[in-house]
């Protein structure tokens, strides 16, 4: 019924977490606005942002939920985590406090989210450190560097918690698509059952009613499929 006929489309609910101003929204906007794949225009609803990408034979439709500011006073609703299959935990590599907060969000995800959620840890604002040549050689954080969280620290946290790890720059688009592609690859193929929003054709199979498609009066057997 859609353009991508023959391919399976997996809807994946992805939630964003991270301290304010680490660049959560910028990362997503970079990803969504990049005119990725054949999709002509990014679709960003007021409800959540969506972006499709194709990985091999599969099409993944990301439904990206921004915190909408509700994390500010620790007031995220359970609805936010529900059925999330992927999460992006973002920190700012120039702000140590944001890295501490990232640990907190990982813990929160372990408590609140579905088991088996795919989590990617993103050290954002990589662009601010690319001029620090010294760091590229040593891997150490020099005192003059804007970088305050080393690659090692990020990697260690990721290893401890079993997360994917990337350093990204929403500004230069460095590693941005890579993060989402990596997440997409890790999403098991059969995971859409009970997942975020099954694409509409199959929606009624698991009892979910599509509110945006009223049945006409004539079509009296519509719900019996």
């Amino acid at each position: 019924m859609s353009a991508s006929q023959g391919r399976t489309t997996t809807a994946v609910k992805l939630v964003l977490l991270g301290e304010a101003a680490v660049g959560k929204s910028s990362l997503v906007l970079r990803f969504v606005n990049n005119d990725f794949e054949e999709n002509k225009e990014p679709t960003i609803g007021a409800a959540f942002l969506t972006q499709k990408c194709t990985i091999g034979e599969r099409t993944i439709k990301f439904e990206i939920w921004d915190t909408a500011g509700q994390e500010r006073f620790a007031s995220l609703a359970p609805m936010y985590y529900r059925n999330a299959q992927a999460a992006l935990v973002v920190y700012d590599i120039t702000k140590p406090a944001s890295f501490i907060k990232a640990r907190h969000w990982v813990k929160e995800l372990r408590e609140q989210a579905t088991k088996g959620i795919v989590i990617a840890l993103c050290g954002n604002k990589y662009d601010l450190t690319v001029n620090d040549e010294a760091e590229e050689d040593s891997g150490e954080v020099s005192e003059t560097s804007k970088r305050k969280v080393s690659v090692n620290e990020g990697q260690t946290l990721a290893e401890e918690e079993g997360l994917m790890f990337f350093e990204t720059s929403a500004k230069t688009a460095y590693n941005v698509n890579e993060v989402f592609l990596a997440i997409g690859k890790k999403i098991p193929e059969a995971s859409q059952n009970g997942g975020a929003n099954p694409s509409r054709g199959e929606s009624q199979a698991n009892g979910r009613i599509d509110l945006s498609a009223p049945v006409s009066s004539e079509d009296s057997n519509a719900c019996a499929c």
Partner: protein
Amino acid sequence: MSYVTEPRRPSMVDRRPSMAERRPSMANGRKPSVIPQLAGIEKPISPQTPETCDVLICGTGLVESILAAALAWQGSNVLHVDSNPYYGDTCATLTIDQLKDWVHSVNQHTPGFQGFSKALLYIPRPQDLVSRDYGIDLTPRVVFARSDLMSLLTKSRVHMYLEFQSLSNFHTFENDSFGKLQTSKEDIFTDQSLSLATKRHLMKFLKFIFEYDSLDNLALVESYKDKSIQDFLQDRFKLDGPQINELVYSLGLSASPDISIPEGLSRIRRYLVSFNVLGQFPVLFSKYGGPGEVSQGFCRSAAVAGSTYKLNCALQSFDPKTKLAKFSDGTSAHVTEKVVCSPSQAPPHASYVPEMKYEITRLITVVKKSCREWMAENETAAIVVFPTASLSTNNKYPVQVLIMGAGTGTCPVNQCVWYLSTIQKGEVARKDLEAALLKLEDSILRESEDGFDVSLDPEDIIVKPDGATVINSVKLGKSFKDFVPKEKLQYLFKLCFTQHTAVPPFGVVSSSLFDTSAEKPTTDGSGVIPDSTVIYSNMPSTEISYDGVVTEAKLLYEKIVGSDDDFFDVDFENEDEDNDTLTDVAAGDEDAIIDDDEEEHSKAFKDEMDFDL
């Protein structure tokens, strides 16, 4: 209605620009009719506690959450707080642990829990319950497929945050047995418990319902003005007790026998016009919890439009002179326009909480049975109604029961949540609920027991048009009386409590409840009264559907903005998703659905009814 709308204050007419208008691309003065796709995400988030807001809303119950979203999209700067660590307030969906705390707070008369009383909790084996596996609604509700909330959910796109499931089995307890409601032509035809004459009378009545607006019929109803709906149905349509009960209490979901004929008829009609709107079922419910889940959806919508959210934050006082609201966490906010507060979250020493003279008694229990026997195929919930005088207690008011199985996402597999409620008061109410509970227990044990034999003749098995077989329930009912169960039903959890409200049964909230025009003293001997200019919303009504919720939110909105003309007057940009034709239906003319379609739908129904028996 005696209420006169205040003239719009000039300051309200020239309000600050809405979300859409604040966009730079809108600066050319074009009237924004469309909410841009990037709305919400563009807004830079200030890390500071807001020191100023236009409207402060206390309590994240459903009405308050709809109000917050409506105001936020209209352009108001909303600060929305809740004294609890969770969303939903008086209609929250809670885990077992949260419920334990809730019961404690109610019984301690903790501020923030006004409106509830006498909570009794019974958990026989606490170690068997994993708290987070449960989502128990304080105020469970179902939504009619054709209703104002359903339209609002689609229009506001809040439905995208939610999952809805259908509910089509409405059972009426009669003669010690559950009769499944017959509402379709096929059902009525195949029901062997109905005589041909009864079938004809039922058909005649259903036809009448769809022509209710004709002058003849209005005159007919008028001539019965002083009679009850029960008399009307009996007199005019020759219907018997069981059919009348089904129509009034199951289709109509009336919580009281004292109901006017027009009100009763409109409630029956509500069911019938909802049938076949989204499928062959009249009502839906949201997965993972009812109003608690829906309020989270509206709160998120409000947040996307820029509202600030703060849980664990209780209003302490609002000083009408300085316009300063103080909170339990030591922060404060300057409120430029209005403060709206749920009665449950009234500040300490409040003086103006509306009197709540109506009661709803609820009994919520989790049983170790799937209760699939009561549900339609592929569904996970059902409704059971005990009409008046159908219980051993000779109940004066009906007992309404919402059955929620594991598929609703609110309890583990092979368990089921039963929500019983009545508008009866005090101890009598609790006895009625216990009596109903016993009947439910007997019934589910009988229906689910393996090897339970009823001698059935071939004609007792009815094959429905869809191929499903149904056993003649009258026969089962007879055997039911002699049935002695081999097992006991295991109750894992039982909670009973009383809820108070100012909204009368069947009452749609009247605007007089929000009347703030009268001058109230703002101080007394001991100092400033903390709530003299606070607008109180209401505790949830007894209504088991969501009807009335949107009306109340609109009344409050009007109170704040001056008119409800632009209540959710937003048009989200079409998503235009990969030419998916199904989704194109979404952003169509939701506004028009209710009026235009209803007529068409009624006609289709009438056509369908045009046949001879």
